[in-house]
């Protein structure tokens, strides 16, 4: 939806049409939802090999479409799959690709991409002067999806996927969901609790998890915490971990090393609890408490639990 919103804006600015491509088993519900976000065309690619994500099938199928339709811009979400497909497609079409953009817009009739580099220390404005189509991947959770003012009924087209090349074999044997029970979904959560080495040991996590449940928050950690084995790698937040954009990041016992903060640069509020008043995290925190997290967290839990039971009593009336 975010991609459609941005795409609609770019298309309108370039005075061109907007198409959205969906690859996979037919999902008519998805089509219905997408229609409201204003694409002029919806292209459904189905067929053998589209039940699971396989990069080569996606990039080859989109390449074949691109050769027929000659779009000027193709946008992808900057997800694992989106980045893979976009990269292979860019090489296939021998065009440029601006990755992980935080902003896409049209300046004086020209499509412009803005993306971070050097761990977020630098922002770069990218142009693709001549090669067409121009490709870009957009970082998720930055744009607010918006439905266009005037409604358009899109033309729906169905196309068969290009099968995997006969020169090689590749298949997905299994798709495994690793539901990190206490971590929630780091990308989607509006509140994320981050823990650092100040936690002390793995068993202290139960207190943090309890707080996370009460706040409906996901749990992430610094590299130190992951290296110590207290949290799995997919919960690491930072330069070599995940970059997230929650509304509130509650950093408990996190010193605030640059590499870690890179992971939460765009969080709306950074709240820090740390026993060390000199901890670098206080320089970027929008609110902080200098104190022992093992005093602060139990009190937070107590307050939240009493509020919850009060609300439950009110509801029961």
């Amino acid at each position: 939806m975010e991609l459609l919103t941005v795409g609609r804006s770019i298309a309108d600015n370039l005075k061109q049409e907007l198409s959205i491509i969906l690859i996979g088993p037919e999902l008519s519900d998805t089509v219905r939802v997408l229609e409201e976000y204003g694409p002029d065309h919806i292209i459904l690619i189905t067929g053998e090999g589209t039940q699971q994500y396989l990069t080569e099938i996606h990039s080859d199928s989109i390449a074949s479409l691109a050769e027929k339709k000659r779009p000027s811009v193709i946008l992808f979400p900057a997800t694992y799959d989106g980045r893979d497909t976009a990269a292979r497609l860019a090489a296939r079409l021998q065009v440029g690709l601006a990755a992980d953009c935080t902003e896409l817009r049209v300046d004086e009739g020209r499509f412009v991409q803005i993306r971070p580099a050097f761990g977020g220390n630098l922002m770069a404005t990218i142009n693709q002067p001549t090669a067409r189509p121009q490709l870009a991947t957009l970082r998720p959770h930055i744009t607010k999806p918006a439905k266009p003012a005037k409604s358009v009924t899109p033309i729906v087209e169905r196309v068969l996927a290009v099968p995997l090349s006969s020169r090689y074999q590749k298949m997905v044997l299994k798709t495994v969901r690793e539901v990190a029970d206490e971590s929630g979904n780091l990308d989607e959560a509006e509140v994320v609790i981050g823990v650092g080495r100040g936690l002390g040991s793995k068993d202290k996590l139960s207190m943090v998890n309890q707080l996370a449940r009460l706040m409906d928050a996901a749990v992430g950690g610094s590299r130190g915490v992951v290296d110590a084995g207290w949290l799995p790698h997919n919960q690491q937040v930072g330069l070599t971990g995940r970059v997230i954009s929650p509304k509130m990041y509650l950093a408990l016992g996190v010193s605030g090393a640059v590499q870690h903060l890179v992971g939460v640069r765009t969080a709306k509020e950074i709240v820090a609890v740390n026993i060390d008043p000199e901890a670098p995290i206080f320089k970027v925190a929008t609110f902080g408490i200098v104190g022992d997290m093992f005093k602060v967290v139990p009190l937070l839990i107590k307050e939240l639990e009493s509020k919850k039971s009060m609300e439950a009593r009110v509801q029961a009336k």
Binding site: Y53, T79, Y80, R83, A87, R88, A90, A91, R92, Q94, G96, L97, A99, A117, F118, G119, G120, N121, L122, M123, A124, T125, I126, N127, T130, Y168, Q169, K170, V172, L173, T175, V176, R177, E178, V191, M215, D216, A217, N234, Q236, K247, M248, Q259, K268, E269, V271, P277, F282, V284, T286, F287, I289, V290, G291, K295, V296, L299, L300, E303, E311
Partner: protein
């Protein structure tokens, strides 16, 4: 655990030797980069150069695979002469051969031109398996690996957290990270892999291995060596251009910092903030 980096195993029946190529990059240590708050530029002087952390996982995995199924490892990098340091580290970790692509014609390359240059080199060297780090910590595009694979006409598996090469060296099994977990993929060889942080823990080369590595030759390749035309590589070969760079407004924080003299009070304020920003309950 003993790292016998310099033993070369030949397969028992003497045939297929897996030719592994690892693409690496020497990058500035981005954690040490500071911003000049007056000029709004990056302060690069004095920032040490390191082997891209994700490439370490790639080299480590190459060595482990080689030690199990046999083969040889060539590390390749495109960069200035200074990039030799990164190549020496790879040799010390166990790579057999090192190639530096160094030519003024390569300068200013974007991901397309870089991928093209590396792919042409890999094609010239001959390969069965190419391993790259999933991204470089300076550019962070995650593009070069998949683009190289497409140019070489081989499949790729990205964000790999585990890989097992089949004994016949004709296919491999790999776990590819996804947002929700992973996919278990079977892929034929030749192919390309990009390494994620979860793949392994890279060995630290011993002092002796480092000394031995420094004595090994590093082959220098130019545009002519790989048969690249001037407009295929470097800035002329690029499809994207950076028209402007700026330092983003630094998060200044400037928030209220309380201490726990008034524990209850500070907790209440925290919860007020949470009520405002967090999930509405």
């Amino acid at each position: 655990m003993l790292y016998s980096s310099f033993n070369r195993y030949e397969k028992a029946n003497g045939d297929t030797v897996l030719r592994i190529v690892v693409c690496i990059k020497q990058v500035p240590d981005v954690a040490e980069i500071r911003i000049d708050e007056i000029k709004h530029t990056l302060i690069r002087t004095g920032v040490p150069s390191i082997l891209n952390p994700f490439d370490e996982f790639a080299v480590e995995e190459a060595v482990r695979i080689r030690d199990v199924v046999g083969g040889d490892i060539t590390v390749v990098t495109m960069g200035p002469m200074q990039a030799k340091e990164a190549l020496y580290k790879c040799l010390a970790m166990g790579a057999d051969r090192a190639v530096l692509l160094s030519d003024v014609k390569f300068a200013g390359a974007d991901t397309w031109a870089t991928s093209k240059t590396l792919a042409m080199t890999i094609q010239k060297l001959g390969f069965d398996l190419v391993i790259c780090g999933m991204k470089a910590v300076d550019g962070e595009t995650c593009q070069v690996g998949p683009e190289i694979a497409e140019i070489l006409g081989v499949p790729h598996v990205s964000y790999v957290k585990r890989v097992e090469v089949n004994a016949d060296c004709k296919s491999l099994l790999a776990e590819r990270s996804t947002e929700e977990g992973h996919q278990l993929i079977k892929c034929s060889i030749p192919c390309l892999l990009t390494a994620s942080k979860a793949l392994n823990i890279p060995r630290v080369p011993t002092v002796i291995n480092q000394m031995i590595a420094k004595k090994k030759p590093i082959e220098i390749f130019t545009a002519e060596t790989i048969g690249a035309e001037k407009d295929e590589v470097g800035l002329p070969g690029s499809r994207t251009q950076v028209v402007k760079v700026y330092t983003p407004t630094l998060r200044s924080g400037g928030g209220k910092i309380l201490n726990t003299d008034d524990l209850q009070g500070s907790v209440t304020q925290l919860l007020d903030l949470f009520k405002k920003e967090g999930n509405k309950r």
